[in-house]
């Protein structure tokens, strides 16, 4: 009886479980596998760089000149960066707060660096060449306003060609947008 009781409470040395090292290896492996799975699942939520113009982009309307059916506007790039063009819109109503009449196609200045689009069309690979409206440069464009009536204001949104991940992308410079009240 005494011998039997002794056998009951004596630890059995021969029984082997998973070793501590294998336990750690399994734990770390599972951690890594779960981490990879969660990353693959959630990687689209990782914030990336925004498509933004540099802070120093700026241009302004240096002068304008109205005649019955045309509007001459001289722009100046007073920023630190070259500009690739701009979108230009006008209003023909004093109540209208947002300019919606597209003047880009009405540019009749044959010598304009932007042609009749107000945006340098993409045809080259190097974005530095595309942003042809350099710092401190001036550009005078002549817009045909036939049929538009009285022009009350003009809104100009500069744009830049930027290289992002080996691709040339058109980026709007919303912070550099200008609105000028004019009397034509």
């Amino acid at each position: 009886m005494i011998k039997e009781e002794k056998d009951m409470y004596t630890p059995v040395k021969s029984k082997k479980a998973v070793s501590v090292i294998i336990g750690y290896v399994l734990l770390v492996s599972f951690g890594i596998v779960i981490g990879v799975i969660v990353y693959q699942w959630m990687k689209t939520y990782v914030p990336q760089d925004d498509l933004n113009c540099p802070d120093g982009v700026s241009m302004f309307i240096e002068s304008y000149d109205c005649s019955p059916n045309s509007l001459n506007i001289t722009f100046k790039n007073n920023g630190k960066f070259d500009i690739g063009g701009y979108f230009i819109y006008a209003t023909n109503s004093s109540e209208q707060t947002l300019a919606t009449i597209d003047l880009s196609a009405r540019n009749t200045n044959t010598g304009s660096r932007f042609g009749n689009t107000s945006v340098i069309l993409i045809g080259m690979i190097d974005s530095a060449t595309l942003n042809d409206f350099g710092a401190n440069k001036e550009e005078t464009d002549k817009y045909n306003t036939t049929g538009l009536g009285t022009i009350y204001s003009v809104e100009v949104l500069p744009i830049r060609w930027q290289t992002e991940k080996n691709r040339v992308i058109l980026v709007s410079c919303k912070d550099a947008k200008i609105k000028e009240t004019i009397e034509c």
Binding site: E5, V18, N52, Q96, L170, S172
Partner: protein, 161 residues
Amino acid sequence: MKKGMKVKVKNKVNGLSPVIATVLLIVIVIVIALIVFIWIRGMVGDAITKFDNKNVQLVCGDVAFDASYTGGTLYIMNSGSIPIFGMNVKDIEIGRHSTFDLRNDSDTWPKTGLNQGDVFSEEFSFEGSEIVLIPVLLGESKKGRKTHVCDEKQYGYKIII
């Protein structure tokens, strides 16, 4: 218990060996984790991405547009760098509201969306005292192209009429 009666204690109780028990435990945990993962993935839905695998929910934060409603005409200008595929207009009046999509209810909304620098204008009449413009973006998912309506509270553009 009677005196002199012997108590028999069994020494050989056969159960699962520790190795099998551990393997079973791990397998059960993996199976449960897989079930939970598939269940949650079904609830969350397919990720819609745009611009090199960027989730469209994040792209909504980069959308920039100006809008106004004057003289019965709604004006919208895309002043940002993200094309706006569609625009939900929520007409809010006291006690009720209605929402429509400019892609379906406008004759002049561009089929490819409002690209950079594009402008939209059309006459509308609203019954409410304010409207909220909610951009709709087009992205890619595993099942092909899908639209995503941006969150109204975060990205809605409110106009008081």
